[in-house]
């Protein structure tokens, strides 16, 4: 049984169908990259898995359980966290608050927990409360991205693009997810910054998370992934291991075989 899998996943925006029966899987400890051009359906796939878009229950399974119809907050509490496209930090929250909020709601479903959280003062106590177990805390996130500790009291949106991306990743990690979905984390960043961000990936895997990265940059994807899916027009057109698939096959899957 895979950690996460989709079965014939379809998705719609109103009358527009964005996904046509997508089958992917993620094994425990794996990093999977999803590549494809703009509009291939990569982000829709991520949003479906994360629960932002609802699907039929059986279309997505996590640990064998049907999670396709669950709302985003429940999916997150099951251990599937997402770094959304465009980072989407909360402008009203400081850097540290952005991080803290990533973890504080993971466990607190019953009223007692909420009351504790409500009465608890200060970010550190809260973070400690929400993370009795798990590798990621404010301290370990700051160790991963030291610059964030220096800027912890700034509003999240006052940071540079790369730093904002670090906050977005740190925020997702704070819930100590089993599955981390990273949607276009290199988009709009300078190559040197992208390198910094991807440098964090081994640490993230070490902490026990399995990762799906969505990338438009094929080279980057092949470098970090154990397996790669290529998508085009809402369908998976290629699957394989980086060493085993040739450039031409990728090119074909990416742009369409007969399009040229």
């Amino acid at each position: 049984m895979s950690l996460l899998e989709t079965h014939g996943l379809t998705a719609f925006y109103g009358d527009f169908q964005a996904l046509f029966g997508v089958d992917i899987r993620l094994e425990r400890g794996e990093t999977v990259a999803i590549i494809g051009a703009n509009g291939a359906g990569k982000t829709t796939l991520m949003r479906s898995i994360a629960g932002v878009l609802r699907n039929a229950p059986g279309m997505i399974r996590h640990d064998g359980a049907e999670v396709g119809a669950l709302p985003a907050d429940t999916v997150m509490k099951r251990g599937i966290a997402m770094v959304p496209e465009g980072r989407r930090l909360f402008p009203s929250l400081s850097v540290e608050e952005n991080l803290v909020i990533g973890g504080q709601h993971k466990g607190g479903r019953d009223f007692g927990d909420r009351l504790d959280a409500m009465l608890g003062r200060g970010a550190a106590t809260l973070a400690a409360h929400a993370h009795g177990s798990g590798y990621w805390t404010l301290e370990t996130v700051y160790a991963l991205f030291p610059i964030l500790e220096e800027r912890k009291d700034n509003p999240g949106t006052a940071l540079s693009g790369g730093q904002q991306q670090m906050v977005a990743i740190g925020r997702a990690l704070m819930s100590n997810p089993e599955v981390l979905l990273c949607d276009e984390i290199s988009l709009g960043l300078a190559p040197v910054v992208i390198k910094d961000i991807y440098a964090a990936l081994p640490k993230i895997k070490e902490s026990g998370a399995s990762v799906i990265v969505v990338e438009q940059d094929i080279g980057q994807a092949l470098k970090v992934a154990d397996r790669v899916y290529c998508m085009m027009e809402g369908r998976v057109t290629l699957e394989g291991r980086p060493g085993e698939i040739g450039r031409e096959a990728i090119h074909e899957a990416y742009f369409g075989a007969k399009a040229q």
Binding site: A72, F90, R121
Partner: protein, 287 residues
């Protein structure tokens, strides 16, 4: 000297209006919902306290303490089961549903309590006063003002120092991303409206103790609250207090000139501020 007295009374009256406004401001700040039944909910709170006082023989403050959790639950349920269904791009559904609610509440209260004026008795406190320098200040107005300040301090603490406050701000910023953090926006909104109803209970206590009330006075309270919020600038609770004070002072000064001008003077003050500072005195952010 009479003017100093008038202005002091106006400032203290402003505390009451700030209490009316705080709940409205809180709900709007978090979910961009303008609750047209807000004034009627305050009046409903006053009747609830009145019932507790007369039926159980509780003192008004104890009665308000009992009423607060009840009001929290009413607000929570109202938001969860009714108002959450109306939120979205279109501003019509929430406005029309809360307007309908306002009509329903007024008539439920009318049916239950008749159109007669009521008052919550607070015994000797009602008439007690303190000499503050040259002016005599009623203890009740003073307590109202102090409560308004305390409510604003407490709301600011909740907003900026607690987990639920962070959830409020995050959800207000971006509800979809908040749900990726494990927050269910509908529940956050329900909690926010519940808290707003606790503030409404405090407002209702002072409304009922300080003056007569009947089922029809809700809309006027909504209007005062709204004016205070706009004068203060959206999103600023201290601004709301300033807005309440401006309306309170305008009303007492207007009344001192001609008793018939009291209410009108408050509205005119609001229009003048709207004319000169359309974004209010203390605007915040890009709302």
């Amino acid at each position: 000297m009479i003017w100093v007295d008038t202005i002091v009374q106006g400032v203290l009256l402003g505390g009451l209006y700030a209490l009316f406004a705080a709940g409205l401001s809180l709900v709007f700040g978090i979910m961009r919902l303008v609750n047209l039944a807000h004034g009627d909910l305050i009046v409903m709170g006053a009747y609830l306290i009145l019932v507790l006082v007369t039926a159980l023989g509780l003192g008004p403050f104890l009665a308000a303490l009992v009423a607060a959790p009840v009001m929290f639950l009413i607000g929570w349920s109202l938001q969860k089961f009714v108002l959450n269904r109306t939120l979205g791009e279109d501003i019509l559904p929430p406005l029309l549903v809360t307007f309908g609610l306002s009509i329903v509440l007024q008539n439920v209260l009318l049916e239950g309590f008749s159109a007669d004026s009521q008052r919550i008795s607070a015994g000797a406190l009602e008439t007690a006063s303190l000499a503050l320098g040259p002016v005599n200040v009623g203890v009740m107005p003073l307590m109202t003002f102090a409560s308004a300040v305390l409510v604003i301090v407490a709301l600011n603490q909740i907003f900026y120092r607690t987990a639920i406050g962070r959830a409020f701000r995050a959800t207000s910023d971006d509800a979809v991303t908040a749900s990726l953090m494990g927050i269910r926006p509908g529940r956050v909104f329900a909690t926010a409206t519940g808290i707003a109803m606790v503030v409404v209970t405090i407002a209702a206590l002072y409304l009922g103790v300080r003056a007569n009330f009947d089922p029809s006075i809700g809309p006027a309270r909504l209007i005062y609250a709204f004016e205070a919020v706009i004068i203060g600038g959206l999103g600023s609770l201290w601004g709301t207090l300033a807005g309440g004070i401006i309306i309170g002072v305008a009303q007492t000064v207007g009344a001192a000139i001609n008793p018939e001008w009291q209410i009108l003077a408050g509205h005119v003050a609001f229009l003048v501020v709207l004319l000169l500072r359309p974004r209010g005195l203390f605007p915040r952010g890009s709302d």
